[in-house]
């Protein structure tokens, strides 16, 4: 029901603004780079030490010394730069990156996010996610509204160990665009064909619905 992963990325791309530096997490967020709106310039930062990240290399030119934070072979655009990990996180911690887009297992109505650990299961680590969510002013989460069992991931309180506290500003799911403020989820847009009632039902956290909720335009 609702948006595909590609469409979630497409909707998030509408949030990009001219002259923003953007860090895209692994998964759906990475796809956002395919939908940059016309007429704006953004630069993608990869926290392993790359600014001005370009598309995948042409077959045969891939280089083990040129990867992104997802360990995929990538390229650097003209005007890009390479640097060490301390400088990279100086950019992130110092709020030089205007937008972070990342995935989540759970988001809470106070802006908490959980996306790195499921107790009892294998723990792979937080990578750069804790630095990113503790630092960025704009944090958009790309995620499915519910888990495979149909349970809401848009919660009153996170049940999983947190990645960051009170930091998420917006959530784009397969069902809706939600703004996180004043301790609640504010419904901004519906996915095409999805009703407000369906969103309400899939949302465990407090959902504020004000006025007529428009359908997303993709």
């Amino acid at each position: 029901m609702g948006l595909s992963k590609q469409e979630i990325a497409q909707r998030i791309a509408q949030e990009l603004r001219d002259k923003w530096y953007v860090n895209l997490g692994i998964g759906i967020p990475t796809l956002v780079a395919n939908y940059i709106p016309k007429g704006i310039e953004v630069e993608f930062q990869s926290e392993n030490g790359l600014l001005g990240m370009g598309p995948f290399p042409v077959e045969g030119t891939e280089d083990a010394d040129m990867i992104n934070a997802g360990k995929q072979t990538v390229t650097v655009l003209k005007g890009g730069s390479l640097f060490d990990s301390a400088t990279s996180f100086a950019m992130i911690r110092g709020q030089h990156v205007q937008l972070t887009v990342l995935g989540a297992m759970e988001v809470a109505q106070n802006g908490d996010i959980a996306n790195w650990k499921i107790p009892g299961r294998m723990v792979k680590g937080m990578g750069g996610a804790m630095d990113l969510v503790a630092s960025a002013e704009n944090i958009i989460v790309a995620m499915m509204h519910t888990n495979k069992r149909g349970e809401s991931k848009i919660l009153k309180e996170c049940s999983l160990p947190l990645t960051g506290v009170g930091c998420v500003t917006k959530v784009v799911t397969n069902l809706a665009v939600l703004e996180v403020k004043n301790g609640a989820f504010h419904l901004l847009e519906r996915a095409p064909g999805v009703s407000v009632e369906e969103i309400q039902e899939a949302t465990e956290g407090t959902l504020i619905i004000e006025g007529i909720i428009p359908e997303m335009k993709l």
């Binding site: 995948f56 042409v58 891939e62 680590g125 937080m126 506290v165």
Partner: protein, 233 residues
């Protein structure tokens, strides 16, 4: 100029013993000290604490040391992609300290820069901050993080000169420069060892002062973890 050249990995690792704490450069499999890792496997030193952003894959990088059960504790930010790691961790054979990537990078730099501790926002309010000092600065909460104490740092550079100056290539730079600063003894292996005067002093990434031993590496595999390409049109 002070000459830092040693003949090979064997000479470069002189003094490495069981129970030591090491830093190892690299992000994923990019920029890892392949020769030094091979030599550590050969030496068979055990009970090691390894500070490295990742833990390699089963049959490459730090995975090779894990296979031989040489590592007692890993300090990393992300350790997926490694079945043997998972097995040892879940069975309790391996201690794992997971810390945010930026905190890891900054702690490495602090170690080399004589900064014993600093405040960072990363991890505040999470289990990473449990038992740590926290403090408010200008309305925002931060966690106090400390420097490390590694005995050796193993780094890999693209080019290096006999005085120990290093230049890295692409994203293979990653943690290498800060770890080079941090090692009590820093061992640099390079793809190309050149004479002094061949590197532009204005373009050195790691000044030679941070490097105690340098050697010409051999047989680099430089494995790619996720080969993603654009088809030829």
């Amino acid at each position: 100029m002070i000459n830092k050249v040693v003949e090979n990995a064997e000479k470069a690792l002189l003094g490495v013993t069981d129970g030591m704490t090491f830093m190892l450069g690299g992000f994923g499999l990019s920029g890892i000290p392949e020769n030094s890792i091979s030599e550590l496997v050969k030496l068979g030193v055990k009970e090691l604490t390894c500070i490295s952003n990742n833990a390699g894959v089963d049959d490459f990088g730090l995975g090779l040391l894990l296979q031989k059960r040489q590592i007692k504790k890993m300090i990393s930010s992300y350790v997926g992609e490694n079945d043997e790691f998972e097995r040892q961790m879940l069975s309790g054979e391996l201690e794992v300290d997971l810390i945010p990537q930026g905190t890891l990078a900054e702690r490495c730099r602090a170690t080399g820069a004589g900064i014993p501790a600093f405040y960072t926002p990363a991890g505040y309010g999470t289990e990473v901050a449990e038992g740590k000092e926290t403090r408010e600065f200008k309305g925002k909460m931060y966690v106090l993080e400390h420097a490390f104490e590694p005995e050796f740092a193993f780094v890999k550079a693209w080019k290096g000169d006999t005085a120990g100056n290093l230049i890295f290539k692409g994203t293979a730079r990653n943690f290498n420069p800060m770890m080079a600063m941090a090692g009590k003894i820093t061992v640099a292996e390079v793809e190309e060892l050149v004479a002094v005067g061949e590197l532009d002093p204005n373009q050195i990434h790691t000044p030679g002062i941070f490097v105690q031993r340098i050697f010409q590496g051999t047989a680099y595999e430089k494995r790619i973890e996720q080969r993603t390409v654009t088809p030829k049109s």
